[in-house]
């Protein structure tokens, strides 16, 4: 054992020395696969094993190259188990790491589609309540009605998605036992609890049938609608933004790594959906502020998402591939189209406004599903846990040795 205590962390089983082991088994052909397996464990070997006779180094490299190249091994190929470093350096410049039989380190989130659906519904509720309150205060009754009803729909959707996704839905009220600042879900529960009554009262006031309007409960409701709606709008920014922390405050690499940009993506998305809903449901003459709100939100979402994509390192892979990529591309296209429509045609054409609003709503929803999916994907592969953490450790070690 020539390794020194402590020195082995970085040197063991990595690269460079790997070929020593390929020579150990002279037989070609049938053994080739196994040699490859042996080869990846070899780095650690060299310290303990007497240097073997170099019988066929070239041959084994050739076989190995064949194994790697001729078998359709793409970038996804990696070493696992107790395996050591990658044998053939030149073939696939992939992130090199070890794992336990390729098993994921983290647990995949137990949440299903209802959580991204909630993210969208919550954003819609927040955005719509702002539109409703503004419309109420500036005398735009139809936009107000649209906003309040959109807010209620978003709220009811949120509550359904959240409660039904619990393992024990009948215990949903256990969320109300405590207020825990360290738990974004607890913070969110209370934000939603504070938002709900205001948004609910304002929306119900819109729904009172004409023949009951003269009764005293209806009059009370009508009078409390404005303060209720304004209070909901005051809480809406919290509702729109906390969901980003909800995702980022996890060990899930795909969500945790984007923690700086995600709040802006989500609030932009919420504004776009709220404004878009107003454009969809209110006449063009009243929907001016909704268009501005939607356009600013959509632009903010697109910019923040771009910045998020540029800043991501290895984790960016889960955003650039597969289902998450497709969802977010669709979101981008729809949001861009909705933004263009909002700016160019929504002022003149009712149909154009409705189409733009729909595009923004769909773009907002797909953004949430895309981000959610990217996070889930990042837990399914140990690479996204091991490689960044290993780099962090190496960096710290370099810093320490530079300082010391």
């Amino acid at each position: 054992m020539t390794e020194e205590p402590g020195a082995d962390r970085g040197s063991q089983g990595r690269t460079g020395t790997s070929h020593a082991a390929t020579e150990l088994s002279g037989e070609a052909g049938a053994q080739a696969e196994n040699e490859e397996a042996l080869d990846r464990n070899a780095g650690a070997d060299t310290a303990t094993r007497p240097a073997p006779e170099g019988d066929s180094e070239e041959g084994s490299i050739g076989r190995e190259a064949q194994l790697f190249q001729g078998s359709g091994l793409g970038k996804r190929r990696r070493r696992g188990g107790g395996g050591g470093g990658r044998g053939e350096q030149t073939v696939v410049p992939d992130a090199e790491f070890r794992s336990y039989y390729g098993r994921p380190v983290l647990k995949t989130p137990v949440w299903d589609w209802r959580i991204p659906a909630y993210l969208f519904a919550g954003g819609l509720a927040a955005g719509s309540s702002v539109v409703a309150a503004g419309a109420d205060l500036t005398g735009r009754p139809q936009l107000r009605r649209a906003g309040r009803l959109g807010s209620l729909a978003g709220l009811l959707g949120s509550m359904y998605f959240l409660v039904s996704d619990l393992g024990r839905p009948e215990r949903f009220h256990h969320m109300l036992r405590v207020f825990k600042p360290t738990s974004p879900m607890s913070v969110g529960t209370w934000i939603l609890s504070a938002f709900g009554p205001g948004a609910g009262i304002a929306a119900v006031a819109e729904l009172v049938p004409a023949r009951w309007r003269r009764t005293w409960p209806a009059r009370l409701l009508a009078r409390s609608a404005r303060p209720a709606g304004v209070s909901a709008a005051a809480i809406a920014p919290g509702l729109a933004s906390y969901t980003a922390v909800l995702l980022s405050h996890t060990a899930v690499p795909g969500w945790n790594e984007v923690r700086d940009e995600l709040p802006f993506v989500f609030t932009g998305s919420a504004a776009a959906s709220g404004g878009g809903f107003g454009m969809l449901c209110a006449p063009v003459e009243e929907a001016g502020p909704a268009r501005v709100f939607a356009a600013v939100g959509a632009a903010g979402e697109l910019l923040a998402a771009k910045r998020m994509e540029q800043r991501m390192g290895l984790i960016g892979e889960v955003y650039r591939h597969g289902k998450a990529h497709r969802l977010r591309r669709a979101s981008e296209v729809l949001t861009l189209a909705g933004l263009a429509g909002t700016v160019l045609v929504a002022r003149r054409s009712r149909t154009g406004a409705a189409a733009s609003g729909l595009a923004l709503l769909a773009g907002s929803a797909l953004q949430r599903f895309g981000v959610f999916e990217a996070g889930v994907e990042s837990t399914r592969d140990p690479k996204y846990v091991v490689v960044p953490q290993r780099e962090r450790l190496e960096q710290r070690r370099r810093d320490a040795s530079a300082a010391g």
Binding site: Y100, V110, T138, L166, G167, M185, P237, P263, F266
Partner: protein, 357 residues
């Protein structure tokens, strides 16, 4: 208690959680260098805690047919086969021609199939690892059904040099780390997860409503939701036995004292001594994992002596409690909320200024 309440070294987590008078913090020191892979810990844990069976499957991962920690496995013994010896041990094959180990092959057979499974291998007792998708990822020329386990026989069982392997087995009993700063506990919105007076982390089953946040909050991938039950489950460090003055079932059952239970301070000293001893014996690759209060989770209540990098055992090399970044995340969310509010107010103000639009 001041400072480091979200991350960093914290001397007294139980006190920080509000236990005025409490016993010393306890934990596990799992010395994997003496683990023999008997899985008595897994069995004892299941027996004592009435943890349900999680499927009887062959996973194709050496002798590990448990797979991972989860809702129905609170102890998990990992098996890793490596073509090398430990320290100055002579496995009897030095200098002899040796055959291959199957570890890498196993990993290549198992890994892609796991990713094709429903929760990417997060589920316990993963069923038969097969399927067209997995088969498609297999290298050409290797049958998809071959789980690649040429190392089933013990070294030296067969005759002929091609069957021999210079070989060591790493076995390690993994468990919940009972972190100083526990990601699961921090994010639990119901208070079901709590810090006990012993400094451990336990789920109150009558409170948990199965929101699943802890599952994503744990940087080690330990806690999980039990599908048929809907609640989060994990090691309690035998909270009930601790109350009775007994050591946890797994430590009690461990025949080699690989799992050592005790007061954390004492265990840390013991681990340091064992590490020095192993280094003296030439086992330079021995290292402690989770013992450092300065790490990303403030040190683990259950820590380990490992003979290879943590990721080889399926452990994260540098776990960090997400709560560490909570202040900065909320600041960013606050800024985004302000921008949202500004956009809302601005939309109506600009329309008012701009006239009848």
């Amino acid at each position: 208690m001041t400072g480091n309440r979200l991350s960093g070294p914290l001397d007294d987590p139980a006190g920080d959680a509000g236990h005025a008078e409490h016993p010393p913090r306890v934990g596990f020191f799992t010395d994997t260098s003496v683990c023999i892979g008997c899985k008595a810990c897994e069995v004892a844990c299941k027996e004592w805690n009435a943890v349900p069976e999680d499927g009887l499957d062959m996973l194709g991962m050496s002798y590990d047919n448990t797979g991972s920690l989860g809702a129905n496995s609170w102890r998990h013994v990992a098996f890793i086969e490596q073509p090398r010896s430990t320290g100055r041990q002579d496995p009897g094959f030095l200098g002899l021609p040796t055959g291959p180990t199957g570890t890498g092959l196993m990993a290549d057979a198992v890994g892609p199939r796991l990713r094709a499974s429903e929760r990417g291998g997060s589920e316990l007792g993963t069923g038969p690892l097969d399927g067209p998708k997995a088969a498609a990822e297999q290298p050409v020329g290797q049958p998809a059904e071959d789980l690649g386990m040429p190392a089933f026989s013990r070294p030296g069982d067969a005759t002929g040099p091609e069957s021999r392997t210079d070989f060591r087995w790493l076995m390690a009993s993994d468990v919940c780390k009972h972190c100083t700063h526990a990601g699961c506990l921090d994010v639990c919105p119901t208070g079901a997860l709590f810090r006990t007076e012993f400094g451990t982390v336990v789920v109150q089953q009558n409170i948990c409503n199965g929101c699943g946040y802890c599952v994503s909050g744990c940087p080690y991938g330990v806690i999980d939701r039990r599908p048929d039950d809907g609640r989060a489950q994990k090691c309690t460090l035998c909270y009930d036995r601790l109350h009775g003055g007994l050591e946890p079932a797994c430590a009690k059952a461990c025949p080699t004292d690989s799992i050592q239970f005790g007061e954390l301070d004492e265990l840390r000293e013991r681990a340091d001594r064992r590490l020095a001893q192993l280094h003296d014996l030439g086992v330079g690759e021995a290292r402690l994992y989770g013992n450092d209060p300065n790490d990303g989770v403030g040190g683990d209540g259950a820590f380990f002596l490992l003979l290879d990098e943590p990721e080889v055992y399926g452990l994260p090399p540098d776990p960090v409690v997400p709560t560490r970044d909570a202040p900065s995340m909320w600041r960013r969310a606050g800024a985004a909320a302000a921008a949202f509010a500004l956009a809302g107010v601005g939309a109506f103000v600009s329309s008012a200024i701009g006239g009848r639009r």
